[in-house]
């Protein structure tokens, strides 16, 4: 089988992928790349098309338009080759509840084509990596949700796949378990290529190098975490805390060149959120204006825009357009 694209650093290529179910459009032609060894976060609200994208990549459903490839193999034309290279954790971990943890993982290893001689070693490794040693002999159906999720993760990695596709791997877990799973996933980067979907923002910041934000079947942003939080589509934001609230302060500040908007934050002491252009050079002017207005400057600081701000901005924009 010859790959339809030349082998290169791009492990996963998604090219103008479309999917509609009956009349409903789930994906409106999305494109992104994932490089070898990278951990990519697919971030979006529920129903944005994350699961659909993953199901297309794993060959569970066909796209209605566009194409996608994994390791150079087309997900539709060369599905078996793609499936040989992936590990997949669906939204609901696919577990045979009546089997023991070890028995189940042995079955998955066999199903995924791990040769008999290596099966035990690989199963042991997955058990070790996912922290399942103490429950290895127990029946899957009797485990707690956290352990079941880990068994789900173990079945995705037991055959040592090049590519991992994890659909909401931490959903429904307690904070301790979430931390464990995240560090586990983070550790997969480098040797494996990972796509991870989530609707939880900190998860992306903590585990991924790059993020694709998807909402209503379209990509609204694709960048590294650092760029996305630092790029400041809205520029920067300053928080200015004053002693007394005086009329006209807001309009004075708004008049300074480079200031985009001023918001009076609720609560005391009075704080104004001033949005400024990128590369804003009038901080001195700003502080002088506050002092001259006589309302007593207490504090002035630059507030870095969080991923959450970017995310909310992006998806609200999108909703605004759609409405």
């Amino acid at each position: 089988m010859t790959p339809f694209l030349e082998f290169d650093l791009r492990m996963i290529i998604v090219d103008r992928l479309e999917k509609s179910y009956g009349g409903r459009t789930a994906l409106k032609g999305i494109s992104f790349r994932v490089h070898r060894g990278e951990v990519l976060g697919l971030l979006g609200p529920n129903g944005a098309g994350k699961t659909t994208t993953m199901k297309i990549l794993t060959g569970l459903i066909p796209a209605t338009g566009g194409r996608a490839s994994v390791a150079g193999f087309d997900v539709h034309e060369q599905s078996l080759e793609v499936r040989r290279r992936i590990g997949y954790l669906p939204e609901h971990p696919p577990l045979y509840r009546e089997m023991t943890v070890r028995g189940f993982l042995r079955f998955v290893a066999e199903l995924r084509g791990v040769p008999r001689s290596k099966r035990s070693a690989k199963v042991d490794r997955a058990i070790e990596q996912c922290g399942l040693a103490e429950v290895a002999g127990r029946i899957v159906g009797r485990l707690s949700k956290g352990y079941r999720q880990r068994v789900g993760l173990a079945q995705a990695i037991v055959h040592d796949p090049e590519v991992l596709i994890l659909d909401e791997p931490t959903v429904g877990l307690d904070p301790k378990q979430i931390v464990d799973i995240r560090s586990l996933v983070k550790g997969f980067g480098g040797e494996r290529t990972v796509i991870l979907s989530t609707h939880i923002l900190p998860e992306v910041t903590m585990t991924c190098q790059r993020v694709v934000i998807i909402t209503r079947g379209s990509i609204v942003a694709e960048d590294s975490i650092a760029n996305l939080t630092g790029r400041g589509e809205m520029g920067e934001r300053m928080a200015i805390t004053v002693a007394r609230d005086l009329d006209g302060v807001a309009s004075t500040l708004a008049g300074i060149p480079g200031v985009i908007g001023v918001d009076r934050a609720p609560g005391e002491p009075p704080t104004y959120h001033v949005s400024v252009e990128r590369g804003f050079s009038g901080k001195e002017l700003l502080s002088a204006a506050v002092v001259q207005s006589g309302c007593g400057l207490l504090e002035m600081k630059t507030v870095p825009e969080t991923l959450e701000d970017v995310f909310l901005d992006l998806i609200t924009e999108e909703h605004g357009v759609a409405a």
């Binding site: 794993t58 060959g59 569970l60 459903i61 066909p62 078996l80 499936r83 040989r84 992936i86 997949y88 669906p90 609901h92 971990p93 696919p94 577990l95 045979y96 509840r97 009546e98 089997m99 028995g103 079955f107 998955v108 066999e110 199903l111 995924r112 084509g113 079945q155």
Partner: protein, 255 residues
């Protein structure tokens, strides 16, 4: 082949660790055994009757016990046991989400279906073996035709194989096990009734449908006749259902 066996083995394992398996096995073995006892008791009184009319042909144990046992005991209990074995095969995977695991694995749909089917066949074979005390009893304790024992068991097992293939197909259509079982029974009934119609229409349709008569193929086996047309019928019907299952799963995958 490795993938087929992996799926089949897992299916057998899951069947025998579930409590339902023992209910099914009990139904099977008890029904078959009781039926055998009934035939033995009837035969004891029948022999007394026969002895009162000298000169008549003495019916053998094969006629009086073995054949009715195969046709009325072993075959009839399949109506209940085949759907009970096959109903969970693919429907349970869809319900539990394990279908995502199977379908994202590097195995073809045909391998998956054959694995499931092979697992069901093995379970049925184990149940059949568990009734071997009956023919063994007849062979050792009486004078029955061993050829009929072999051919009869083979014929009923081939029928079971066909019913299980129908069951695999039914289980691919729904995620509800009860619906799958009912669909299997309906399909079995359809096969059976079509066979009856085929036999009945022989006189005026010239027997074009006779090859589809389940009853006449099974009777051949139970008479001790190994006819190739019987093998062709059972194997091709089974293959047909396996094929339908494969197409069903593929159409669900690519929808």
């Amino acid at each position: 082949m490795r993938a087929i066996l992996a799926v089949a083995r897992r299916e057998i394992y899951s069947f025998f660790v579930s409590p339902a398996a023992y209910v099914v096995a009990t139904i099977f073995i008890v029904t078959v055994s009781v039926w055998f006892l009934v035939l033995i008791f009837q035969n004891i009184s029948a022999q007394l009757t026969v002895q009162l009319t000298p000169g008549a042909r003495q019916p053998t144990l094969t006629d009086k016990v073995l054949r009715p046992f195969l046709m009325n005991g072993l075959f009839r209990v399949l109506w209940l046991v085949a759907p009970l074995i096959s109903m969970r095969l693919l429907s349970e995977d869809r319900k539990q989400g394990t279908a995502d695991l199977l379908l994202s694995s590097p195995i073809t749909t045909l391998q998956l279906v054959l694995g499931k089917y092979l697992g069901a066949l093995a379970i049925m074979a184990i149940l059949f073996v568990a009734t071997m005390h009956i023919p063994l009893f007849l062979v050792l304790g009486g004078n029955v035709d061993r050829g009929v024992v072999f051919a009869g068991y083979l014929g009923v097992f081939l029928t079971a194989a066909m019913f299980l293939a129908a069951g695999v197909f039914a289980s691919s259509l729904t995620e509800n096990q009860i619906v799958a079982a009912l669909l299997t029974m309906a399909t079995m009934l359809g096969i059976f009734l079509f066979g009856k119609l085929a036999e009945a229409s022989q006189r005026f349709l010239g027997g074009v449908f006779t090859p589809f008569s389940l009853g006449s193929h099974l009777e051949d086996f139970i008479r001790g006749i190994l006819d190739s047309s019987g093998f062709v019928y059972f194997l091709s019907m089974s293959a047909f259902f396996v094929f339908l299952t494969q197409r069903t799963i593929d159409s669900q995958r690519w929808r």
